[in-house]
């Protein structure tokens, strides 16, 4: 069987005909396999959903109890037979509960890696390499200029700034699912033991991480705090909130942003960021190329991001590669406002029309 007969892109997403399911479908389908909880990959309204327990919980938190007709939790490494194929979920190292999905049919194995990173992350299981014939890779940071470096070093930069400006508040824009908790965990690892403050949109998901046994130390809502009491503190907020009227409750805030995009100055400057922190939940260029090589796959399908450069690189290494036409997946840092709209209306007062600023 040819790989494209096992998995092929259709308007609803990546379809597996012999298995009778879609992976991360962007439209409601009968049976969906979901790699992780980010809103562009995990959407409501499917008939049956197969995902890790954490991903199912996150979908429930965001969309409510009846986000799908039925759900089934799968453990990492568990083999499940669907139609003519076998599927296995393995850690993707992207966020808590994130998985790569290996689809095996006869002798051919395709790995849909969703979003992944090979860098260390104290808040989720580490990326696991799956040898395969075809590897589907994201390319969010698919240019050699993206090298994320050491996240601990970036957190050190943040702490140095807090020390230098004790009279100012530090606002760290970070995607509320995954990145924010990773920054908190890194702050704790660096020895920061003061309370960390949370924007309203962060609370639910962060408390969920704590319930799952990820230690994040003392957390407090920023809501209701006196302005002067926020001097010298660190607050995590969705990126859209750091340029919002919401920031006026903080004393002379230093605006930080934790994202792989912060590597490029123009990107940081456009966003009015004063303290860019290069911390990403996606593999950087070195991570993408090393992972692709290590899978042993002879064929690489490249999706969402800078496909051109990665496809070019694969070809120079003698690998067969092509961009995969999948639409509807974005970079979570940019899709933040839409993703957290529900939480924001519950948690923080926002003037009309501001959520997407």
């Amino acid at each position: 069987m040819r790989p494209q007969d096992i998995l092929m892109p259709v308007p609803a997403g990546l379809a597996c005909k012999p298995g009778g399911f879609h992976i991360d479908p962007v439209r409601p389908v009968e049976r969906a396999l979901i790699t992780h909880g980010h809103s562009d990959h995990a959407r409501p309204g499917h008939g049956a959903v197969l995902a890790t327990q954490e991903t199912l919980d996150m979908m429930r938190l965001r969309y409510g109890e009846d986000f799908a007709g039925s759900t089934q939790a799968v453990a990492y490494g568990e083999e499940i037979r669907l139609g003519d194929v076998t599927v296995t979920f393995r850690p993707a190292g992207h966020v808590l509960g994130s998985a790569q999905i290996a689809v095996t049919c006869n002798d051919t194995r395709i790995v849909a890696s969703g979003d992944y990173k090979d860098a260390r992350d104290p808040t989720c299981a580490p990326f696991e390499l799956i040898p395969c014939d075809v590897f589907i890779s994201e390319a969010t940071f698919g240019l050699p200029v993206f090298r994320h470096g050491d996240a601990a070093g970036e957190v050190k930069k943040l702490l140095a700034s807090v020390k230098l400006f004790p009279e100012r508040a530090h606002l760290v824009g970070a995607y509320s699912l995954g990145k924010a908790q990773r920054v908190m965990a890194l702050l704790r690892e660096a020895g920061y033991d003061a309370p960390i403050y949370l924007h309203g949109a962060m609370e639910k998901i962060t408390y969920y991480y704590q319930e799952r046994g990820i230690p994040l130390g003392e957390l407090k809502p920023a809501r209701g705090m006196k302005k002067a009491d926020l001097a010298g503190t660190i607050t995590l907020a969705p990126p859209s909130a750091t340029s919002d009227v919401w920031t006026r409750r903080f004393p002379d805030p230093v605006t930080a942003f934790a994202s792989g995009w912060m590597r490029v100055r123009a990107r940081a400057r456009q966003g009015g960021i004063e303290l860019p922190l290069v911390i990403s939940d996606h593999a950087d260029w070195d991570g993408l190329t090393a992972t692709i090589a290590a899978t042993g796959a002879g064929e690489i399908w490249v999706t969402h991001g800078q496909e051109d450069a990665l496809v070019h690189w694969c070809k120079t290494k003698g690998l067969s590669a092509r961009p995969l036409d999948l639409v509807g997946y974005g970079d979570e840092d940019e899709g933040e406002a839409a993703a957290t709209g529900d939480a924001e209306s519950a948690g923080e007062a926002q003037p009309a029309g501001e959520a997407k600023a």
């Binding site: 200029v145 340029s243 919002d244 002379d252 100055r265 690189w313 029309g353």
Partner: protein, 550 residues
């Protein structure tokens, strides 16, 4: 080098002046000699070595990296140094053989003596040894493109703050100092004597005036003051002195102490008497002072062509004398300095340097009349270049900084128009959550009837309370969003009228309206006025005609 790079990186993103100073002071405190001294030199433009050309950087990267990947990356990043810094593939070195990254001192001292042919290989070695930010700073440094929003003055202010000293003191000794400034830092840290400036033509910190308010006059006696025209040029200090060989050295400084002699070589021969003149730099044609717009052609020029010198003849109008030969006059009262100045200028007897005349007046009313009509009050044909009057206490010594009381500036009323708010953009730093940059327009006849055409942009003049009001208005009346810019409703009966004050107008082909304003600011919010009653472009054009005709 990596530490200096981190400083530059942080400074490049920090909009607040005081915060920049804080970052700099922390760097100077934590960094040892001579690295911090070379950093100060880099920030004040005091380093001299031959800069690398962008072509060299491009060659380096294409030798190391896939040209297709470089092309895609460069397209994305948009800046050559940054692209190369980010994607530089380090040479594979055995782990035990990794040399430590170069210090800033290594880089600066090596570049000073390095031959052109050796530069590429040396740069590649350094790029291998540094991290992303370090590579970026290195490439900015060697290409001489270190634009990070730091003035030399700010860097010196931060150095002064390290030792709790006044930046004026550093300015005074600066021309006598050389990188890496070991003696300066020793003094700042209380380990050494104050360095002396052996410069024969040093800068002296300038004295500045406060703007006078109507209410101030009640407490001031006209008899205590002398008045001069406030010229619309640039404030300079022209200093000449004899070096150890007895030769005259002349220098022209900006009000912040920046040496701008190189931009005005045509004035240097006139500075042949040892002394220090405080005055205004102007362009004079046929004995008449030209407007600031004309003078602007001579500012910030690296290369001064003979044509430029001929077309824009430079002139110094003197109003104070701070030093005469070896004598420091700054302790003397103004009237005595003025007498000295008059004889100094007479002795100099040079057509390029003249006296700024004193305005005779017996009462504030008389001075108000002179300010309202400089032409008949003595300024004559030069009246267009007068932007108000200066009041100086006759008994006041020359004090550096901006002491309150001895000097006042009393500007002419600015030009004012009513314009309509069209677009708003978020500010930076403290103002990043506020729409604080405003594009405003006036009415003109378009293809489909009257339409608004943008005539300028203003981001100050309003109070904090007014900023909140405009911000609220912008958020509630946005019609479209383009990135950080919002289109604000601007219809004949819907919109916000801003009273805009400005100092001058000039023709500008770059603006759709054809005119550009000098120093525009929001002077009042006209909530009471419907946009249809705002001014028309014809009004501005009429103002422009009267300004150029008179």
């Amino acid at each position: 080098m990596n530490r200096f790079a981190q400083l530059l990186d942080r400074l490049a993103y920090e909009p607040g002046r005081n915060n920049k100073i804080k970052l700099l002071v922390a760097y100077f405190r934590e960094t040892e000699d001579p690295d911090r001294g070379y950093a100060l030199a880099a920030l004040t433009g005091a380093l001299s070595f031959k800069h690398a050309k962008p072509g060299l950087i491009r060659d380096l990267i294409t030798e190391r990296a896939d040209p297709v990947l470089f092309g895609l990356s460069y397209d994305y990043v948009g800046d050559l140094s940054e692209t190369v810094a980010l994607m530089w593939p380090k040479a594979e070195l055995p782990a035990h053989n990794n040399p430590p990254p170069p210090t800033l001192t290594d880089v600066v001292t090596t570049l000073r003596t390095l031959g052109k042919a050796e530069l590429p290989a040396q740069l590649a070695r350094w790029l291998d040894e540094l991290d992303e930010t370090g590579r970026w700073a290195l490439l900015k440094l060697v290409t001489g493109a270190m634009r990070i929003g730091i003035s030399a003055r700010l860097a010196k202010t931060a150095a002064a703050a390290l030792g709790d000293k006044d930046a004026h003191e550093i300015e005074l000794m600066w021309p006598g100092l050389t990188p890496p400034f070991l003696d300066l830092f020793a003094w700042l840290e209380g380990r050494g004597n104050k360095p002396v400036n052996r410069d024969p033509a040093p800068f002296r910190p300038v004295m500045l005036a406060h703007a006078i308010e109507d209410a101030d006059f009640a407490n001031l006696d006209a008899a205590d003051f002398s008045a001069e025209w406030k010229w619309d040029g640039i404030r300079v200090q022209a200093v000449a002195g004899r070096d150890e060989h007895g030769r005259i050295q002349a220098r022209l400084y900006s009000r912040t102490g920046e040496d701008i002699t190189g931009s005005f070589p045509d004035l240097v021969p006139s500075l042949r008497l040892p002394g220090a003149i405080d005055g205004e730099l102007l362009v004079l044609r046929d004995g008449r002072v030209q407007t600031f717009n004309v003078l602007q052609q001579r500012l910030n020029r690296k290369i001064v062509s003979p044509k430029l010198i001929k077309e824009f003849p430079i002139h110094l109008r003197a109003y104070d004398l701070l030093g005469d030969g070896e004598n420091d006059l700054r302790e003397l009262p103004l009237i005595e300095r003025r007498a000295n100045l008059e004889s100094f200028i007479a002795k100099l007897n040079d057509p390029r340097i003249d006296l700024s005349p004193v305005i005779p007046f017996a009462s504030w009313d008389e001075l108000a009349a002179a300010r309202a009509d400089p032409k008949s009050a003595g300024a004559g044909d030069d009246a267009d270049a007068v932007e108000g009057v200066m009041l100086k206490r006759r008994d006041a010594p020359y004090l550096p900084g901006r002491p309150k009381g001895p000097w006042w500036k009393w500007k002419r009323d600015p030009h004012i128009i009513d314009a309509v708010l069209m677009y708003a953009q978020r500010g930076h730093g403290k103002r990043s959550s506020y729409y604080s940059d405003y594009t405003f327009g006036v009415w003109t006849r378009g293809d489909a009837g009257d339409e608004l055409v943008p005539v300028g942009k203003a981001y100050f003049g309003f109070t904090d309370e007014e900023l909140l009001q405009i911000d609220r208005f912008v958020r509630r009346n946005t019609t479209e969003k383009f990135g950080p810019v919002r289109h604000v409703v601007h219809e004949p009966d819907q919109g916000l009228v801003l009273e805009v004050a400005f100092e001058g107008l000039q023709r500008s082909p770059r603006h759709k309206s054809g005119v550009a304003m000098r120093f525009p600011r929001i002077s009042r919010l006209r909530w009471d006025k419907p946009p249809r009653e705002a001014d028309r472009l014809e009004t501005l054009e009429r103002m422009l005609m009267t300004m150029t005709a008179s």
